[in-house]
Symmetry: C2
Subunit: 682 residues, 2 copies
């Protein structure tokens, strides 16, 4: 936790995240190739200044370190006298009313400053200007509070890990680290450097497939582009890669050569969310989900750790939900929101995907609901407005959004009828408009036009896409095919766009209709299970979690996958996108049981922004005996509950909690553990 | 000159210039401070790809070097099969119809590529994409045609120079290099490193003023932020600075210590323009102008070499004119145009100045008139359109342009009546619209709206700003003061916005009216003298050149100054902007005699784009005996003429020339020197 007047590195709000997101999105590797993300990459401001006004009775000293080139300016606000000063050494601000300005230009990196002094120090109370329009608040990070740091180099945590198991296979050595890791491989040679090949694999099959492994490294002592050799310690260190296995072909014994270990690189997040029950399979699903989510959570929520390592708004959106039931980290959400969105002027949908832009807009509402931080929402509002306006430019006279050149209407990997406007896309547009309206009102901004747009869109969705005969929303009203997929119908339930009667119809005619194509991605299974939970089908949610995620465990998963089809066997399980090892075996969206368990089975949800009030409605009979603990704030607050032998014990570290069981509403105590007998509850 | 299939480094068109312009605009130093330019600094694309289609009967090999991270893709256009490939090593494109794509992301610098092969090699015939909208042509430079180069490091020429004169003053050593230079200072120690202070000065006064010199360096052996010491050669090399003098205080003899010399850094431009007459003062003015212009011409036309070292559109605009009569370099104009304008989306007027945006627009017409390169004009047209549209957004219902927040309506350092719309600004807006219309028509783009806007503006300028009583254009029609300055009236003549009668009236009532405040900057003296030349007052032009620029020579100038007031004496001559040494003594706009002599006294001008036809109308009686040579193309063509003993000798290396003397029109020969007797001419 930060002290009250601890200095932070400051930058133009959002630019640290743009810089780091670009670095992240340029970090993909495939078979010796670097693969920068295939979309427009937003730049950051290279030339900025920071300013703050001070009023002192006594002179104050301070010193300023910057990344870049620049100078300082001290402006006496009483006589407008300006004094320029050199940065790097100590400066004195006399008594009086002054404005301090720190100018920083950085050609190759992020212009940022660190100002240290008793009363004058850099933090989020400073303003930043890029010499255009409105100044913004300075951006900060809890990771950068030391003058010796450079915000261009993220402060990761590291841990040396040895292989959990070493095996000799086909005359080579196979190291198994137990589960996926993102790490630098280190080879400490006993006597002297020796050429060797490292074949990486998320699966054993991949690592042993020397010809086709996705990541392979023929290490060279000198001029190795992907690693370096330190003569003094006789240690070769590779670049960062994600894997569970390393196979060293042709070396059947490392004993005379050296030791191979890895330097695991990660961002430490608090351990708050916990779940354990009498059901060991469910417990394992929780643990593996938690591991998967943590591995995919670094500077940003990324999609997967081996491939793509990119920041995708759809994947991140689901992580925002999971985060609430696991580590409740505020800054990773802010970083991901800002990194995804880029500079103020929008030029392309996020990751080129129209629905991803919509999720980003909704995520601001979600952010506020989670953290109730109005300052951040205010800072990001201009970017929100530009994005919705940019999106609405592509709507027709009915209010339906269409693909422009270069846009991608995605929704899911599914067989949609894409002719003309797609219903599911209109649903997410409507939902995004609701978020824009909500946030606009929160910030006392006029939202009338957005409201009118939203109302008209809702009316037209029902008018054009609802099929009375099929009792379902159809993909396209223009093609005449009147094709039904689950997606729009799931959204209609999730977004409360249908009344009780129509909800039940949809459940029957679509969700429980085997003739409607099934959902094939864990990504959309998230929404489908949420819709089922919403209509009270908790048993379905539990069963599906155990069957689908449990099925991955049965297939040897130690982290959850991007895609799982129980019918696939052998090496085929690892293939995707036409690539033998194209499937990510540690994929953020595979971790959704965290959310589904926390939100629906244990049943925690905020009822006021920032969990000022919250409800918990556990499915006691469904879960049987269990222990659970979920965060309530980024400060470490939590609610814990235990269900054991027909008793429920519950306590929170924070007021505002209500336990719901049957029709009962019971205040959750903060000063003692409440013990309730099921006999009294039911 | 480039060979026919010589490979070039390629980048997203305009981005090399944006990158280098940022570097340039961050290069200012003042008393130990770095001073990045105080405006919004456009970024470049960090993530791009280059592509070209090929059709071959035989397989072709090629290899690709990039700056950044990326990969290649070979797409068979017959079967759409895609093959990704690693860059850096040789690749084969089979026979058939293929598209090659090279993907490059660069976090910290300019993504660019160099592709070498017999038939497959990078040049301006490749296209570049930033994953948005329309692809652009690849940018290239004649300076980057070698795989070993890095376009982020400009290829300067260097020359070691010794002081022309060494003097002992006040116990220190003063080195005089004869005139301003931009150079790294090198100190080669005989025995060992010795701490010393270097005080730089454009003037002797400044260098000797150890306390207040603008540039000073206390050299340190280790960790010197502004230089480095090479132990092996015992040589200390400083960063680049501009100066004529170096003073080393407290060291009265360097004999036992070492040698100080400088490494002059410059961009080599051809020596084509030349002028020499019987008038030695005028000759010296030409030579010093030429030196001044060359010193201020690097990657870009910058304003001045000591201070600011920034790219200013107003200053550069005048250099574009001078360039035509001196080295006729095409690429420096292109670089400056692109560096000034920045990325496609415009966010702020160039250098924040509204009139500078207008000059930039006019400069595209000037560029085309000079070089007739439609490809470049086409490439820059979208940026032209965005800039005029951005500008017109700030016009009122009469069509007059106003200042928005952060805009600067500059025109000149003069006492304008700034209430409401300023007349001179409307004149340059009208002129800029004419350029936009002209270029739009050249490119077969619709210009009807711009034409209507222009016509209305012209009518309203005359309606609102022409004062019948004063017979002059007034600054403001809104203030009621009806104040007259020269500026708008000069523009009216220059832009042909007044008929013969009104022109004569303006000359009498404004230009020759001592009650109207005089022009105080060489910058606007350029336009004033041009207006006088336009009305045939060549004698005035010559007299003013000799008095004003000759006056600087009399004050010891060896390069021309930013500002010259003959009344200032002593150290006061070097002060400006409230700084003792704030005045630039080597300032591009001081070099305008090159243009005034070439364009009006010798009288050369193109009459068709690219000098396809040109006229020369020398002021023979005014100049007396002289030799002159001026470029006609970037390929080295020129026209030369000599006036001697009442004979005129003239010849050109290029057809299309017409000599005008009195009412006579004489074709300028290319195969022999034409000799004409004044008796026949007059």
């Amino acid at each position: 936790m930060k002290g009250k007047n601890m200095a932070s590195w400051i930058w133009y709000h959002g630019d640290f995240e743009i810089y780091q997101a670009m670095k992240q999105n340029f970090d993909r590797e495939e078979r010796g190739m670097n693969w920068p993300a295939y979309w427009y990459t937003s730049g950051w401001n290279h030339n900025v200044y920071f300013w703050k006004e001070f009023q002192f009775d006594h002179a104050q000293t301070f010193s300023t370190i910057i990344q870049g080139k620049g100078y300082g300016k001290l402006i006496n606000l009483e006589d407008s006298q300006e004094t320029k000063f050199i940065l790097g050494s100590q400066m004195t601000c006399p008594a009086g009313h002054f404005r301090i300005e720190i100018y920083v230009g950085n050609l190759s990196g992020l212009p940022c400053a660190f100002i240290e002094g008793k009363e004058i120090y850099s933090d989020h109370s400073w303003k930043a200007s890029n010499f255009l329009g409105d100044d913004v608040i300075a951006g900060t990070s809890q990771f950068f509070t030391n003058s010796k740091q450079n915000p261009m180099h993220f402060e990761y945590s590291h841990k040396i890990q040895n292989a959990k198991r070493i095996e000799i296979v086909n005359g080579g050595t196979l190291l198994d680290f137990g589960h996926d890791l993102t790490a630098k491989t280190m080879i400490q040679f006993f006597e002297q450097f020796q050429m060797m090949v490292l074949c990486y694999g998320e699966s054993r099959t991949e690592a042993l497939d020397v010809a086709d492994a996705y990541l392979k490294h023929e290490i060279r002592m000198h001029d190795d582009p992907d690693g370096s050799y330190d003569e003094s310690t006789k240690t070769f260190t590779t670049k960062l890669r994600a894997f569970r296995y390393i196979y060293v072909p042709d070396i059947s014994s490392l004993d005379d050569i050296g030791t191979i270990f890895v330097n695991f690189e990660f961002v430490k997040f608090p351990k708050i969310g916990a779940f354990e029950s009498h059901d060991s399979k469910l417990n394992q699903i929780w643990r593996v989900s938690d591991r998967t989510l943590r591995l995919c959570s670094g500077i940003f929520f990324i999609d997967g750790i081996k491939r793509d390592r990119w920041v995708w708004a759809g994947d991140a959106f689901q992580c925002f939900y999971m985060n609430r039931y696991d580590f409740f980290d505020k800054e990773i959400v802010e970083r991901t929101v800002l990194g995804l969105r880029g500079e103020l002027d929008i030029k392309q949908h996020l990751d080129t995907i129209v629905d991803y832009s919509m999720y980003w807009l909704i995520s601001i509402e979600l952010y506020y609901e989670t953290f109730a931080d109005k300052t951040f929402v205010e800072a990001v509002y201009p970017k929100m407005k530009q994005l919705i306006d940019f999106s609405l430019e592509a709507t027709d006279k009915l209010g339906f959004i269409h693909e422009r050149k270069g846009d991608w209407i995605y929704i899911d990997w599914a067989d949609f009828d894409h002719e003309g406007a797609l219903c599911a896309e209109q649903m997410v547009l409507a939902r995004a408009l609701q978020s824009v309206i909500k946030i606009s009102k929160l910030l006392n901004q006029d939202a009338q036009e957005y409201e009118a747009t939203y109302q008209r869109l809702r009316v037209n969705i029902d008018k054009y896409f609802w099929d009375e005969g099929k009792q379902a929303y159809i993909d396209s009203y223009e093609s005449g095919k009147r094709h039904v997929t689950r997606h729009a119908n799931i959204f209609a339930i999730l977004f409360d766009y249908v009344d009780e009667k129509r909800t039940q119809t949809i459940v029957k005619k679509v969700l429980r209709n085997p003739l409607i194509a099934t959902i094939n991605t864990p990504y959309f299974k998230f929404w489908e299970l949420e819709a089922l939970a919403k209509v009270g089908s908790y048993q379905d949610v539990l069963d599906t979690i155990k069957a689908y995620w449990g099925g991955m465990l049965d297939n040897g998963a130690t982290t959850f996958w991007e895609y799982f089809d129980p019918k696939e066997k052998g090496a085929a399980r690892y293939a995707m996108y036409g690539d033998k090892y194209g499937k990510s075996l540690c994929h953020a969206w595979g971790a959704s049981p965290i959310y589904l368990i926390g939100r629906y089975l244990v049943g925690l949800r905020p009822t006021q922004a920032g969990y000022k009030t919250f409800e918990i409605e556990p499915q006691l009979s469904l879960l049987g005996d269990f222990n659970a603990k979920f965060p309530l704030s980024e400060k470490g607050d939590y609610v814990s509950l235990e269900s054991k032998n027909k008793y429920l014990l519950i306590q929170a570290t924070k007021k505002g909690g209500t336990l719901l069981v049957q029709d009962k509403q019971i205040t959750i105590p903060t000063d003692h553990q409440l013990k309730l007998s099921f006999n009294d509850l039911y």
